[in-house]
């Protein structure tokens, strides 16, 4: 069982992570590099002359981008391990997992680790004001944990008590609120911040659908090999 989960997760996480990394480098990285020009003070967009929205943000940086690819693959391998462990647990309770319904598992994963925390703590471009990082991390983990439990209750709960609890769990972190900065001091144009958040969400959704699809596929393939 252990080998089967790890093997499927390595394949699924590496494949989904590689695709996610390439999408991020093409769609997100230029926005991030552009924002860093404001973060470092190389560009200033308010209080002075208008600044062109078209800037040379530099090309490919082999070390930096190589590390990004490696770390994205690692993150998605970690996610795939958790996802496939949950799939194994569900199968153990009589639910069959396939590549096809793996897509739904992937969408659930996106909602849990991207959309739920990002709904209040939006994906941040470098150079925006934010509260203390440790406080945000605690809120992030708490929100992901409650969302995971809520999604499980929605999927496998059988009555309104379970579904009602899920709604409360989904709403609670956002009603309580995330750590916010006391002042807005970010030098980055709001246009870049909004585009960054939208693209981070979009690529997160694609990456998670692929993680779910690949996880279901490799999980089934490993089962067939064992059978």
């Amino acid at each position: 069982m252990f080998t089967r989960i790890v093997t499927s997760a390595l394949f699924a996480g590496a494949a989904a992570g590689l695709i996610a990394a390439l999408l991020q480098l093409y769609f997100v990285q230029p926005v991030l590099l552009h924002a860093e020009l404001y973060e470092t003070g190389a560009l200033v967009h308010f209080g002075g002359d208008a600044v062109s929205a078209h800037q040379d943000v530099g090309g490919i940086d082999p070390l930096r981008d190589g590390l990004s690819i490696l770390f994205t693959m690692l993150v998605y391998t970690g996610y795939a391990l958790i996802l496939i462990a949950a799939m194994a647990f569900a199968e153990n309770r009589g639910h069959v997992v396939t590549a096809r319904n793996g897509i739904i598992w992937g969408i659930a994963g996106f909602v849990i680790v991207h959309f739920a925390p990002g709904f209040t703590l939006a994906p941040e471009v470098p150079g925006v004001a934010a509260a203390d990082v440790y406080e945000r991390q605690i809120w992030w983990f708490a929100t992901v944990a409650t969302a995971a439990l809520a999604v499980w209750l929605i999927a496998f709960g059988r009555n309104w008590l379970a579904w009602g609890a899920a709604v409360v769990l989904l709403l609670a972190p956002h009603v309580i609120g995330a750590p916010e900065p006391d002042q807005f001091s970010g030098p980055v144009p709001t246009e870049l911040g909004a585009l960054f958040a939208a693209r981070a969400f979009g690529i997160g959704a694609v990456a998670w659908v692929l993680t779910g699809l690949f996880a279901g596929h490799f999980w089934r393939r490993e089962a067939d090999r064992e059978a």
Binding site: V75, A80, F89, Y134
Partner: protein, 57 residues
Amino acid sequence: MTTQTAAFAVSKKSVLLPILACAVFGMAIVFVTGHVQADLLHDAAHDVRHATGFPCH
């Protein structure tokens, strides 16, 4: 019948441990790559942390 139930219970129990181990292993990977604030890790994973929506700095 009793033996069957017992065997089934054992097989159910024996899969829970590897499932839990894998989930914890996965969480550890996500924590180290995405959240540990050590300078070296933070710098190496900086762009990924932002693009993946983790609180970064």
